[in-house]
C-alpha cells in the first residue's frame, strides 16, 4: 500500500499532541502535591520524556513491534534499524514516533501514586526496567498483529489495557512496596496549586484527541468518531463525578471536575474508535461515578495511592476495557467487533475480560518484583529528613518558589 499524505499528516500531528500530554500530566499531578515536592513531581514526568524515548529507539520499538513472537519481539529494529518502510498507509517511522509518545506517558502515570517519597535515582531505574519488562511486551500483546491478546480478538483502541490498567496496577504494586507518606492519615496534605491541576487537565484533554483519534492511524471516519467519543466521554465523566461528589461530600469541586474528566478520558481510551452514538456518554458517565466511588478503596485497605492513580487509571481502564465488550459496534468500525448489546454475543466481553485480567496479573507481579529488588539494593524511598524537607531540595537542590 502506498503512503497517504493525509493519514501521515494526522498521525504526525497526533504524535505531537500525545507528547504534550506528559507535561500536562506533570502539571495535573504537580498541582496536587505539597509545594516542597512539586519540582520532584514535574521532574519525574518530564524525565520520562528523556529516558523512555531513548529506550524506545534503542530497543523498545523492536520488542513491541519487531519479529513475529506472540509475547515479545526480536532485535530486528534495534536503534530503529529497518524502519524506512510503509505501515498501512503511513511511513513506518511515523508509527514509531506516535507509539514512542505512548511509551513516554505510560510509566509517568505511576508517579501520582508514589508522590513525595520516591527517590529520583530509584525512579529512573524503576521506569527503565518497567518499560523493558512490562510496557514494551504488553504493548506488543495488545497492538501487534502477532501479539497474543490481539490475536485472541480482544480490542484496545488506544490503550485501556496496555496503558491505563497496566500503569494503574503497576502503581498499586509500587505503593505496596514503598509504603505510605510520612503523616499519611494524620497530617492534612491538601493540593498546593489547583490551578496547575486544571491547566494540566486542559492539556491532557487536548492531547487525548491525538492519543485516541491518532490511534486510527488514518485521517478518516473512525478518527473523527474517536474525536467525538473522546470529548463526550470527558464531558460525561466530569458530570458523573460532580453529581456524586456534590451528593456525598456537599460541593462540586474544581478538583472533582478535573478528575472526572480524566476518568472519562481513561475509560473511553480502549473504546474510542469502536463505539458510537450515545455510548461515549454512558461509558464516560459510568467512569465518572465509579472512579469517584473507588477513591474510598485506599482508605479501606490503607495504601497511600497519593494522587488516586488506582481509582482513576486502574478502575477507569477496567471500566472502559470491559464496557467495550458491551458497546462495540461494527457499524462504527468494521475492523472492530460487535459487543453484547450490538448482537455480538458474549465473545468480545470474554476476550476483554481475559485481556484485562492478564495485563493486571502480569503487570502487578513483575512490577512488584522490580520494586522489591530496587528497594533491597538501592532503596526506593528517600530518607525521612529528605521526605520532610521535600523532594525539590533533597533530590534536585532546587526550590520551586523563591520567598
Amino acid at each position: 500500500m502506498s503512503i497517504d499524505t493525509g493519514d501521515t499528516a494526522w498521525v504526525l500531528i497526533s504524535a505531537a499532541l500525545v507528547l504534550f500530554m506528559t507535561p500536562g500530566l506533570a502539571f495535573f499531578y504537580g498541582g496536587m502535591v505539597r509545594s516542597r515536592h512539586v519540582l520532584g513531581m514535574l521532574m519525574q514526568n518530564i524525565f520520562s520524556m528523556g529516558i523512555i524515548s531513548v529506550l524506545w529507539s534503542a530497543i523498545g520499538y523492536s520488542i513491541a513491534f519487531g519479529g513475529e513472537g506472540s509475547l515479545v519481539g526480536d532485535f530486528s529494529h534495534v536503534f530503529l534499524a529497518d524502519t524506512d518502510g510503509v505501515s498501512g498507509s503511513i511511513p513506518t517511522i511515523a508509527f514509531v514516533a506516535f507509539q514512542m509518545m505512548f511509551a513516554v506517558i505510560t510509566p509517568a502515570l505511576i508517579t501520582g501514586a508514589t508522590a513525595d517519597r520516591l527517590k529520583f535515582g530509584a525512579y529512573a531505574v524503576l521506569i527503565s526496567v518497567w518499560a523493558l519488562l512490562v510496557y514494551f511486551p504488553v504493548a506488543r500483546w495488545v497492538w501487534n498483529e502477532n501479539g497474543w491478546i490481539f490475536s485472541m480478538g480482544a480490542l484496545d483502541f488506544a490503550g485501556g489495557a496496555a496503558i491505563h490498567i497496566n500503569a494503574g496496577v503497576a502503581a498499586l504494586a509500587v505503593v505496596l512496596v514503598i509504603g505510605n507518606r510520612i503523616g499519611h492519615g494524620s497530617e492534612p496534605m491538601p493540593p498546593h496549586n489547583l490551578p496547575y491541576t486544571v491547566l494540566g487537565t486542559g492539556i491532557l484533554w487536548f492531547g487525548w484527541i491525538g492519543f485516541n483519534a491518532g490511534s486510527a492511524l488514518a485521517a478518516n471516519g473512525v478518527a473523527a468518531q474517536a474525536v467525538v467519543n473522546t470529548h463526550l466521554a470527558a464531558a460525561a465523566g466530569m458530570l458523573g463525578w460532580l453529581l456524586v461528589e456534590r451528593r456525598s461530600a456537599g460541593h462540586a469541586t474544581t478538583l472533582g471536575a478535573a478528575s472526572g474528566a480524566v476518568a472519562g478520558l481513561v475509560a473511553i481510551t480502549p473504546c474510542a474508535g469502536f463505539v458510537g452514538g450515545a455510548s461515549p456518554l454512558i461509558i464516560g458517565g459510568i467512569a465518572g461515578v465509579l472512579c469517584y466511588l473507588a477513591l474510598g478503596l485506599k482508605s479501606k485497605f490503607n495504601f497511600d495511592d497519593s494522587l488516586d492513580v488506582i481509582a482513576v487509571h486502574l478502575v477507569g481502564g477496567i471500566i472502559g476495557t470491559i464496557l467495550l465488550g458491551l458497546f462495540a459496534d461494527t457499524s462504527v468500525n468494521e475492523g472492530g467487533a460487535d459487543g453484547l448489546l450490538y448482537g455480538g454475543g458474549t465473545e468480545l466481553l470474554i476476550d476483554q475480560t481475559v485481556a484485562a485480567v492478564a495485563v493486571m496479573a502480569y503487570s502487578f507481579v513483575i512490577t512488584y518484583i522490580i520494586a522489591k529488588v530496587i528497594d533491597a539494593t538501592m532503596g526506593l524511598r528517600v530518607e525521612e529528613t529528605a521526605e520532610r524537607t521535600g523532594l525539590d531540595q533533597s533530590q534536585h537542590a532546587e526550590s520551586a518558589y523563591q520567598a
Binding site: 491538601p190 493540593p191 461530600a249
Partner: protein
C-alpha cells in the same frame, strides 16, 4: 513612641490604610500572616477527603507613632477593620525604646 500591631482581615487592608492616611499616619509595614483565634479554621474537601485548615490567612500591620496619637490610631484601625463578625482580629500597643531613621540618623519622635 508606641508600636501598634494589628491583625486584621486581608480584605480590610485598604480601608485601614486609607483611614490611617486620613489621620496623618505616614508609614506602615504590612505582613501576610496565618493564625487562628476564636474564629478557628475551616474545612476543605479534596476528592472526598475532608481537611481541617486551622490557620486562617490574616494581615499583620505594624505602625510606630507618637504617644499623643495612639488612641486615634487604634480607634481608626478598629473602626475601619470591623465587619462585626468573628475573626475581625486584634490590636495591641507596645512601648518602643528607641527609633532611628536610617537615612538621616534622626532619633525618637523626629524619626516617626
Amino acid at each position: 513612641m508606641k508600636l501598634i500591631t494589628a491583625i486584621i482581615k486581608p480584605f480590610k487592608l485598604d480601608e485601614v490604610k486609607d483611614a490611617l492616611k486620613a489621620i496623618g499616619v505616614t508609614g506602615m509595614t504590612v505582613t501576610e500572616v496565618r493564625g487562628f483565634g476564636r474564629q478557628g479554621g475551616h474545612t476543605e474537601t479534596y476528592r472526598g477527603a475532608e481537611y481541617k485548615i486551622d490557620f486562617v490567612p490574616k494581615v499583620s500591620l505594624d505602625v510606630v507613632v507618637d504617644d499623643s496619637v495612639v488612641s486615634d490610631v487604634v480607634e481608626a484601625i478598629a473602626s475601619a477593620a470591623s465587619s462585626e463578625k468573628i475573626g475581625d482580629g486584634k490590636i495591641w500597643v507596645t512601648d518602643v525604646e528607641r527609633l532611628v531613621r536610617i537615612r538621616t540618623g534622626e532619633e525618637g519622635p523626629q524619626a516617626v
